[in-house]
């Protein structure tokens, strides 16, 4: 038995690894870290992050100043995904059968922080009337729907660092239920702001290696000390088999399994045995109709925090055995929070398409408590029949996606 296939016919990526799928894949396969010192963070407890390079919102058109940065990322990624899928924005046979689901954790926090400063310093009459149209968490989804003239359901899952994966999983459900024919789904995030950096730093969630950013994000490494904040967007085009076949579109891969769960344990610490993570992974495998031996690659949540990586690897060992190849692309991209699940879903799709497993950048000295086959150094070549992608959010909210060839 195999799970309902949502065909992935297009992908779009805007991440610290580059603007566009090709730039991303080159950087991720090479395992090049992207963390760097950012002068605008000077004075904060952590002064490095992974920033999208060479991003020019002006190319989006002269209305782009009305969008927060996370929305700009989402629109660029959605346009690329549609172009790759061979779909024309606005050229829909029935636009009410096209859904847009873009998750985010922080939404337009840069806008909200800036306007709050203006409220305190200049008073209420100086607050921008665009504060909410720019700042609300659902605005990436809203603006993408406007940009591509999609009139179907438009949603914005807010499951923190699982938001992008939740969006794709929910999108597949809409296809399975016959509600729509096409789903443009993913995640977007632009959290490199004073408030977010300070808040994560105060939780001791961020790596303190600001003096050596290139080695700071080191998932599964014995010396890891926290994650490096990232940003970006990932968007996939999902279609039913019928819709893709009718227009002669070929899939890059298939989304065939989705599992979601809650730790119901603690808002930020993972359950010590990874109970919630295991539930999500089991549910996704069952949904896909796969057995553990079918999975060739796990793109781990792998944040480079002391707790996540050892807990997650333990669950992978228990569920899939120690032989499965595991890597975390966050060694390259840092952690783009709500975009991560969608960005990493795209990397799984590319791994299947090309038969290449990206390495874990920054991983030099594996944590001895971790038994799985960690891919590091260089990319690994070989067929990837099925790839599993984990995303775990604050709130104990977990989502696992399974992609197959």
């Amino acid at each position: 038995m195999s799970g309902f296939p949502a065909l992935v016919t297009g992908a779009g990526l805007v991440t610290p690894a580059g603007v566009g799928v090709k730039a991303n894949w080159d950087t991720v396969l090479a395992g090049r870290p992207t963390a760097a010192h950012l002068p605008e963070l000077d004075g904060l407890p952590v002064t490095m992050a992974c920033q999208v390079p060479d991003f020019s919102p002006r190319e989006l058109g002269h209305g782009s100043w009305q969008w927060d940065r996370f929305t700009q990322f989402a629109v660029v990624a959605a346009r690329e995904a549609l172009e790759q899928a061979g779909l024309t924005p606005g050229g829909w046979a029935d636009s009410s059968r096209v859904a847009v689901i873009i998750g985010s954790g922080a939404g337009g926090t840069a806008t909200l922080e800036a306007q709050h400063r203006i409220l305190l310093e200049e008073g209420p009459s100086s607050v921008s009337p665009l504060t909410l149209p720019m700042g609300l968490v659902n605005m990436a989804a809203g603006q993408v729907a406007i940009d591509i003239s999609a009139n179907g359901p438009c949603l914005a899952p807010c499951t923190a660092c699982a938001a992008g994966a939740s969006a794709l999983g929910i999108g597949r459900e809409l296809l399975r239920q016959g509600v729509v024919d096409v789903v443009v789904a993913g995640g977007a995030e632009a959290p490199i702001t004073p408030l977010y950096v300070s808040s994560f730093a105060r939780m001791r969630a961020l790596s303190r290696r600001s003096d050596d950013p290139a080695t700071a994000s080191r998932p599964f490494d014995a010396g890891r000390d926290g994650f490096v904040l990232g940003e970006g967007a990932g968007v996939l085009v999902l279609e039913t088999e019928e819709h893709a076949a009718a227009r002669g579109a070929r899939p890059l891969a298939r989304l065939t399994g989705y599992g979601a769960s809650s730790d119901a344990h603690h808002v930020t610490s993972p359950h010590p045995e990874g109970r919630g993570a295991e539930l999500a992974m089991r549910a996704a495998l069952d949904d896909a109709g796969l057995t553990p031996g079918d999975v060739d690659y796990v793109n781990a949540h792998g944040t480079s925090t002391p707790l996540n990586d050892v807990t997650e690897a333990g669950v992978v060992s228990r569920l899939l055995g120690d032989g499965v190849a595991v890597s975390s692309t966050k060694g390259v991209t840092g952690h783009p929070l709500g975009a991560a699940g969608a960005v990493e879903a795209a990397y799984c799709v590319l791994a299947i398409r090309d038969g290449l497993i990206p390495p874990t950048a920054g991983l030099v000295d594996p944590d001895p408590r971790i038994a799985v086959d960690l891919v590091r150094g260089t990319a690994r070549t070989g067929p990837v029949r099925a790839a599993l992608s984990n995303s775990f959010g604050f709130g104990g909210q977990n989502a696992t996606l399974v992609f197959t060839a």
């Binding site: 919102p57 002006r58 058109g61 002269h62 209305g63 782009s64 100043w65 009305q66 009459s125 100086s126 921008s128 009337p129 665009l130 149209p133």
Partner: protein
């Protein structure tokens, strides 16, 4: 010929909204520039800050082109800067 007041308005639009100066011409409408009603209020706030004259929301609502903004600012005695 563009006035110095026009240049000041164009500068606010370029700096605050990232608009290309070439499109901010006298007969450009708010629609041409992608400025919806909320963005027009934002523009009024930015011009008030930059030029030191009060432009209220109702006055902005009466206008539809860049040239009309320039004329209104000049009639209020705003000094280009």
């Amino acid at each position: 010929m563009s006035s110095s007041m026009h240049d000041s308005v164009a500068e606010v639009m370029a700096n605050r909204f990232g608009m290309d100066r070439d499109i901010v011409v006298a007969d450009a409408t708010f629609d041409d520039l992608g400025l919806d009603s909320l963005s027009q209020i934002e523009l009024a706030t930015a011009l008030t800050k930059q030029l030191g004259v009060e432009l209220d929301d109702d006055e902005m609502a009466e206008l539809s082109t860049v040239g009309e903004i320039v004329a209104l600012l000049e009639s209020k005695g705003a000094v280009a800067r």
